[in-house]
């Protein structure tokens, strides 16, 4: 039940993404079903690296902007409240093959995308005046969406991987305000940590 909840709720969140919501899901395993709308660009890996660098370059600012926007006690208790203690975060192994890294990256991005969707939704309710944070969250979500497209395109076009099993974080809709803020802060802390590793890995 927990797994179901963990899978369905993020799915619903993902479906609320603006463009191409839930796009990773249609990808189905198999050899001949890895079809794209138009041929993938040959410069995909470079674009992925740039996207990772872009995310990595903005992750810390996003983290700071987030906990600053949450107010006390978050700024002064980052270790306790914003530590990267996300247990179900997808693993990433920087020393794997490109395909493996891309698959793991796909999962990480999918996980982050869903989580960022939850955070964005919560923050619009909890901190409706934190427009800069909202904008930053949206921009990060857009980049993650583009990165996901590129990774999928790369997996599909080069490795013919049409389906990757993904896992999503916990649904925060039922939690209290503090928990929402805390989970969000923890995720962004994790995101900052992971994205730096991933950017280095590519």
């Amino acid at each position: 039940m927990k797994v179901l909840a963990a899978g369905v709720v993020p799915l619903l969140l993902v479906l609320h993404w603006k463009h191409g919501a839930g796009s990773p899901l249609p990808i189905t395993p198999g050899n001949g079903t890895c079809a794209t709308r138009h041929p993938c660009h040959s410069n995909l890996m470079n674009q992925i690296r740039n996207q990772l660098a872009q995310l990595n370059g903005s992750a810390n600012a996003l983290f700071i902007l987030y906990y600053t926007a949450q107010g006390e006690p978050f700024p002064n208790n980052l270790d306790k409240l914003c530590g990267p203690n996300v247990t179900d975060f997808p693993p990433f192994h920087a020393n794997g093959t490109e395909k493996a890294k891309l698959v793991e990256l796909y999962r990480v991005i999918a996980y982050l995308g869903a989580s960022l969707g939850n955070i964005t939704r919560d923050q619009k309710l909890l901190n409706p005046s934190a427009l800069s944070l909202h904008s930053k969250l949206n921009a990060t979500a857009d980049v993650l969406r583009g990165l996901l497209s590129n990774v999928l395109c790369r997996l599909c076009s080069k490795y013919h991987v049409a389906h990757v099993d993904v896992a999503y974080g916990p649904d925060t809709s039922g939690k209290d305000v503090f928990q929402k803020k805390k989970l969000g802060c923890q995720l962004l802390g994790k995101y900052k940590q992971v994205i730096a590793v991933v950017a280095q890995a590519f």
């Binding site: 603006k18 463009h19 138009h38 660009h41 740039n50 872009q54 370059g57 857009d142 497209s149 395109c153």
Partner: protein
């Protein structure tokens, strides 16, 4: 209360319901009625056609049976109309009894009203149905699709829509990733060539974009473009550009700015431009120096103490995408440096110098900023006479007046700013006795590119520098020169001061040598010429009969506005065409020739520069009728001739006074003073008169004045006339033997003449002697007398002796006074007239008495043949002819005339012969009948 309230509510609801029902019923009825009324008799298929321009179109009209029956028509009665124009039957096709089609070929109108009509009752045209045929073109494939991502904004794509379709055409921008599709972007009606997508661009993900154009006639898609949005970015402008200088280096400025956030995503390159303040053109920092992301840059090789203006823009490092807009301009001033050049330096000596000293004004120009390299704090002047240092001056102004001796001086000038001093500018002021030499040669000045250029040939001796001085030449203001300095290597430059157009500038070039200035050379020039402000005023200097000398003054330099190249003189008469004469500008007078005398001329004059001319005022003058001296040339000779003639006449008259006196106022003897005692004692008694002796005794008679003295009886004169008539009659009838008183008097006058000519011993005696005789003609007319017979007159009346005493004659006249004396006075006058002119003969025609006198006079004249010129003889001859004609002697008059003529000629030819009356008449063959 509650029930009442409920009732009230119920009633209210019922009322509302009732209203609704009425309204619904009304609408139902109206709709039904309209449905019946609007039910057409047929329909056209298709009902809303859209056809392509130039294509064919077929429409079918199907009639309803009800109408066909009602109107008794079928498809044959269908008439197609396009607007008000009936389509020809040839374009119809009868499909069946109820349907007919029409085909429109090559539809060119964009909007056609096509109606189907039927002819009811054979003639009445009734509309059945109508459609609007819309035509246009299918959309063309959109071209040149491109997109731009303004940083921080959403992506906008734009394209060329292609040709006009004349139809409502929708353009849809479609975009997608390889893995997903984005929402379509539909263009707005006012911007059909661009569309801004709704989503934020995601960098580093390629997307495919295309445009779909669609209208009623088709749909077409542009080429797909695939790009990474980051390659279409137009970054935001770098902001907060600032400029700072360095005290260490006066040639650098450091720029700093803040990049846009895009620098976190992409690498940037920059474009930095700069210019000095006030300049219009920008210089650019080499692109390779700014090809990477940065937020500051140091610009080098700038001029000291110069304000520079900078601006910057950026774009993606690889050049993909778009340049950002230019930043706001920022300016900064480089730090000062020592003056890089010496000031222009010149001097002017006051001409009114005192003995042994002279006042010299040293003057210099401020250094331009690019040479001053800072704020000039002052100037230092050093005066040196020979090699001994004299004095230093520190001046803040640009001139210094010093009193110098007449010796040679060397002056140095340096400019000083906060950093240091300029090099010294050295000028030699020569001694008073210095003779300037080596002027520049071939000095020219000409305008070019709105500047006044000066050009010269370098003198043989190389100068250190040149000084150019110029001033405006004006009659109203003095020449206040401005000046500039040029390097010694220069041989052409332009005047750098402010110059006005249409002003005459006097430009002087002075070479400056080490030992002093050379000889100056000047030239006049205009920056831009214009037509003169005023034309020359022409006037006449001298006006002749056929020419006029015009003169004018040179135009003042203030109104010339240019170099006067030539003058044109326009002159004309009142009615004549204008004549133009070009005159060289060096002249100030001109002679107009070939003018008409006594004519009014209007003349004006125009002066021309290179840019045009200006007419002066018109001047009028009139040529005289006569040339100068012409009147004198005519009058003087005429007067002289008149005077000469008069003088000659007077001399002639003086010489011939006796003769004139005889003819004009001869001495008339006064009978009252006659003395019988003086009568010639030798005269024979009257009764013993011998005609023969008398004839010869009168041989010396030179002149005779005969006056018939009669009694002062008025009646006697008519008697004389009667006797004259009788005498004439007798002559005609009896061959002219005269015996009457008149005849005797006439003949008696000739007789004494002849006889007196013989008696030349004493004129006194002769004049007092009166011998009357009667000439007895021996023949008349053609009858030649055999012997001339003279008979002595029986009259013994003494002659008047008035010749010696004319006063006595006058007295007699006064005494007589009456009419009876008048014929005698006339006689004398007529006698005189006959000698002068013959036409006065008309007097003789008035009376026969006068004629008789003429005859008498003729005889007298014949006695004077020897003393009368030939012309006088011919006058006599003419006289005779006319007298004869006046007497109307009959048919033989002509013959007689001839004879008279012969006699006259003979009389002239016989000049010199002895003055004898008889021989003449004898040779003539007879005496002329009276």
């Amino acid at each position: 209360m509650e029930r009442a309230r409920q009732l009230e509510k119920y009633l209210c609801k019922m009322s509302v319901l009732q209203t609704w029902l009425v309204q619904a019923l009304f609408i139902f009825l109206i709709t039904g009625s309209i449905g019946v009324l609007l039910d057409p008799c047929g329909r056209i298929n298709p009902e809303s056609p859209v056809v392509q321009l130039g294509s064919n179109f077929t429409a079918v009209c199907v009639l309803k049976e009800r109408c066909m029956d009602y109107f008794h028509v079928n498809a044959n009665f269908i008439v197609w109309k396009m607007g008000h124009f009936t389509i020809p039957k040839e374009q119809y096709t009868i499909i069946n009894r109820t349907a007919a089609s029409v085909t429109l070929t090559d539809v060119t109108s964009l909007n056609i009203q096509l109606t189907c009509n039927i002819l009811t009752f054979g003639q009445i045209e009734q509309n059945v149905y109508g459609i609007t045929l819309i035509s246009g073109l299918p959309p063309e494939k959109p071209k040149n699709l491109n997109c731009i991502v303004n940083e921080g904004k959403k992506m906008m794509c734009y394209w060329d829509p292609g040709r006009e379709t004349y139809l409502e055409t929708n353009f849809t921008l479609k975009s997608e990733w390889a893995t997903e599709k984005f929402a379509d972007c539909k263009t707005k009606r006012d911007t059909p060539t661009s569309c801004t997508v709704d989503y934020s661009p995601v960098y580093f993900v390629n997307m495919e974009v295309w445009v779909e154009a669609a209208n009623a006639l088709g749909k077409v898609t542009s080429d797909h473009i695939n790009f990474d949005p980051v390659d279409k970015v137009k970054p935001n402008t770098p902001r907060n550009l600032s400029v700072s200088n360095s005290e260490e280096l006066s040639s650098i400025l450091k720029l700093t700015w803040i990049n846009s956030n895009i620098k976190n995503v992409i690498r940037l390159k920059y474009d930095i431009q700069y210019r000095t303040k006030g300049a219009s053109t920008w210089s650019q920092i080499p692109p390779e120096d700014t090809a990477s992301t940065r937020s500051s840059f140091t610009v080098q090789d700038l001029k000291p103490f110069t304000e520079y203006v900078f601006r910057i823009r950026c774009m993606k490092e690889d050049g993909k995408g778009f340049w950002s807009d230019w930043s706001e301009e920022a300016s900064g001033i480089t730090y000062e440096d020592r003056p890089s050049n010496t000031p222009s330096f010149w001097y002017k000596i006051d001409p009114s110098h005192s003995h042994g000293h002279r006042s010299v004004q040293l003057m210099w120009k401020t250094l331009p900023p690019f040479e001053a390299n800072g704020k000039i704090l002052g100037y230092e002047v050093t005066l040196t006479r020979w090699k001994s240092r004299l004095q230093n001056y520190t001046v803040n102004d640009t001139k210094l007046t010093v009193n110098l001796t007449n010796d040679r001086y060397i002056v140095t000038l340096t400019a000083r700013n906060a950093v240091g001093r300029s090099d010294a500018s050295v000028l030699t002021i020569p001694a008073c006795d210095f003779q300037a030499t080596h002027p520049v040669m071939d000095l020219k000045a000409f305008p070019k590119d709105n500047m006044l250029w000066v050009e010269w040939t370098t003198p043989s001796k190389s100068p250190n520098k040149y000084i150019l001085e110029w001033c405006v030449l004006s009659d109203k203001s003095p020449c206040i020169p401005d000046w500039q300095q040029e390097d010694g290597t220069v041989h052409h430059t332009y005047i750098r001061g402010y110059l006005a157009e249409s002003k005459c500038y006097l430009i002087t070039v002075t070479p400056v040598y080490a030992d002093g200035p050379g000889s100056p050379v000047s030239i006049k020039a205009y920056l831009k010429q214009a037509p003169p402000s005023k034309g020359p005023t022409v006037r006449t200097k001298k006006v002749g009969k056929n020419e006029a000398v015009l003169e004018w003054d040179q135009l003042p330099v203030d109104v010339q506005n240019g170099f006067i190249r030539n003058y044109t003189i326009f002159y004309r008469t009142n009615i004549g065409n204008e004549t133009a004469v070009n005159v060289d500008s060096s002249h100030t007078e001109y002679t107009l020739s070939s003018l008409t005398s006594d004519t009014l001329y209007m003349v004006r004059m125009a002066a021309y520069t290179d840019e045009g001319g200006k007419d002066g005022p018109e001047f009028t003058f009139t040529t005289p009728k006569f040339a100068q001296g012409e009147i004198e040339a005519i009058v003087v000779p005429v007067c002289l001739a008149f005077l000469l003639t008069t003088l000659l006449g007077v001399l002639f008259c003086f010489n011939k006074r006796d003769l004139i006196k005889k003819h004009i106022w001869p001495n008339v003897p006064d009978p009252s003073k006659s003395h019988i005692a003086q009568w010639s004692p030798h005269t024979p008694p009257r009764h013993n008169f011998n005609p023969k002796d008398q004839m010869y005794s009168d041989g010396n008679f030179t002149d005779v004045s005969v006056v018939e003295i009669e009694a002062n009886d008025k009646k006697s004169f008519p008697e004389d006339l009667k006797s004259l008539e009788l005498f004439k009659k007798e002559k005609v009838s009896t061959e002219g033997h005269s015996s009457g008183i008149g005849g005797s008097s006439c003949m008696s006058s000739s007789r004494p003449s002849i006889s007196s000519s013989d008696e030349n011993e004493s004129a006194q005696n002769t004049s007092s002697t009166v011998q009357y005789s009667t000439v007895v003609h021996s023949g008349y007319r053609h009858q030649v007398p055999s012997v001339q017979v003279f008979s002595r007159s029986e009259s013994t009346q003494p002659l008047l002796d008035s010749e010696e005493r004319p006063e006595d004659l006058q007295l007699v006249d006064n005494v007589d006074g009456g009419d009876g004396i008048l014929p005698r006075q006339q006689y004398f006058k007529q006698n005189c007239s006959q000698q002068e002119t013959s036409p006065d003969i008309s007097h003789f025609e008035r009376s026969n008495q006068v004629s008789s006198v003429n005859e008498e006079d003729f005889v007298r004249l014949k006695q004077q043949i020897s003393g009368i010129p030939q012309s006088c003889g011919s006058g006599q001859m003419k006289m005779f002819q006319e007298v004869s004609a006046a007497d109307a002697f009959g048919p033989d008059t002509e013959g007689q005339g001839e004879r008279f003529k012969t006699a006259g000629m003979e009389a002239v030819l016989d000049e010199g012969m002895p003055k004898s009356y008889l021989p003449q008449t004898v040779r003539q063959g007879g005496y002329m009948p009276q």
